[in-house]
Amino acid sequence: MEFEELRKIWDAQNNQPLYAINEKAMYNLILSKKKQAHHITNISELLLIFVNLGAGIMILALNLFRQSVNISLYLLSAWMLVTALYTLVRRIQRVKGDQQFDRSISGDLSHAISMASYQVHISQIMRWNILPIAALTLLGLWEGGKPVWIVVVVLLFFALTYYAGGWEHNIYKGKKRALEILQKKLGNES
C-alpha cells in the first residue's frame, strides 16, 4: 500500500465513532477532579513551609516560656524558620518560572522537566536538612538531660526519615530521567 491509501483507510473512520461516551460518568469525574488541581509539588511545598514554621515557632515559644538556656533548641528553632523561608522563596521563584514555557509538546516537556528538576533539588536539600535538624535535636535532648533511650528512639526516627527521603528523591530522579528521554526522542534528527 502507498501512503495515500493508508490515509484513505484512516479517513474512513471519521464517520464511524470508535466509542460511545458515558456522559454522566464523565461529568462526575470532572466534578471530582476539579478541586484536585493542586499538584503534588504544591502540596509538599506548603507542607514543608507550615511544618517548619509551626515547629520552629513552637520550639521557640516553649524555650521562651520555660526561660530555657538550651542553645541547641534556639538554634533548631532558627534553623526551621530559615528552612520555611527558603522553601517559600523557592516556591515564589517556581511559580514565576511557570509562565516561561511555550505551549508546544516540547515546551510542555521542558516545563515538566523543570518541575521534576525542582522536585529533585528540593527533595535533596530537604534530605540533607534532616542532618542539622537531627544534630540540633539530639544536642538539645542531651543538654536537657533526657534519658539515653529517648535519644536512641529520636536518632532512629531521624535515620528512618533520612532513608525515606532518599527513596522519595530517587522517585523524582526516575521521573526526571524518563521525561529527559522523551525530550531527547522528540529532538532527535532521526
Binding site: 500500500m1 502507498e2 501512503f3 491509501e5 493508508l6 490515509r7 483507510i9 484512516w10 479517513d11 474512513a12 473512520q13 471519521n14 464511524q16 465513532p17 470508535l18 466509542y19 460511545a20 461516551i21 458515558n22 460518568a25 464523565m26 462526575n28 469525574l29 470532572i30 477532579k33 476539579k34 488541581a37 511555550d102 505551549r103 508546544s104 509538546i105 516540547s106 515546551g107 510542555d108 516537556l109 515538566a112 521521573k175 524518563a178 521525561l179 522523551l182 526522542k185 522528540l186 529532538g187 534528527e189 532521526s190
Partner: protein, 169 residues
Amino acid sequence: MTEKEQKQIFEEWLNQHKALIFKIVRVYGFTVMDQDDLFQEIIIQVWHSIPAFRKESSVTTWLYRVSLNTAIKWTKKERKHYQSEAIDGTQHILEESRVRTDERLTWLYEEIYKLDEIDRSITLLLLDGFSYKEMASILGITESNVGVKINRIKKQLISKSKKYDHHGI
C-alpha cells in the same frame, strides 16, 4: 470565565472533536481499560485548558496539543488497569462501539501502536493532514526535524503495509 461558560465550551469541543480524542486514545492505550484511563486523563486536561485557550490557534490544533501532551506523559506512568474490570470501582466512561471496523484500519492502529510515543504523535498528525509547519508548532521542534521523522515513519509504514498485502490478511 464562569463554570457555566467553561462547561458550554467543553461540551461544544467534545461534540465536534471527540473523534480526534478517540484516535489518540486508541493509538496510546493498548487495552480498553488503558484507553478509558487515558480518555479520563485527557478530558480532565482539556477541561483545565479551556481558560488558557486564547484563540491563537484553531481548536483542533489546541486539542491535539493538550491531548498528545497528556498521552505522551501518560505512557510513562505505571499501568493500573490490566484487569478487565476497574479495581477501584470507578465507572467506565468509554464504551467500545459495536460498529465493525475495517481490518486494515485495525492493522494500521496496531502498527502505529508499535512506534515510540513521539512517532505515534507525528503519525497521527500526518494522517490527519496537518502541515509540517503546524506539526512543528504543536511538537515544538523544527520543520526539518519533522520532515526527517516523517520520511522515516512513511518508509516504515509503507514497507510494513507491503508485507501485510503480501500475506493477504
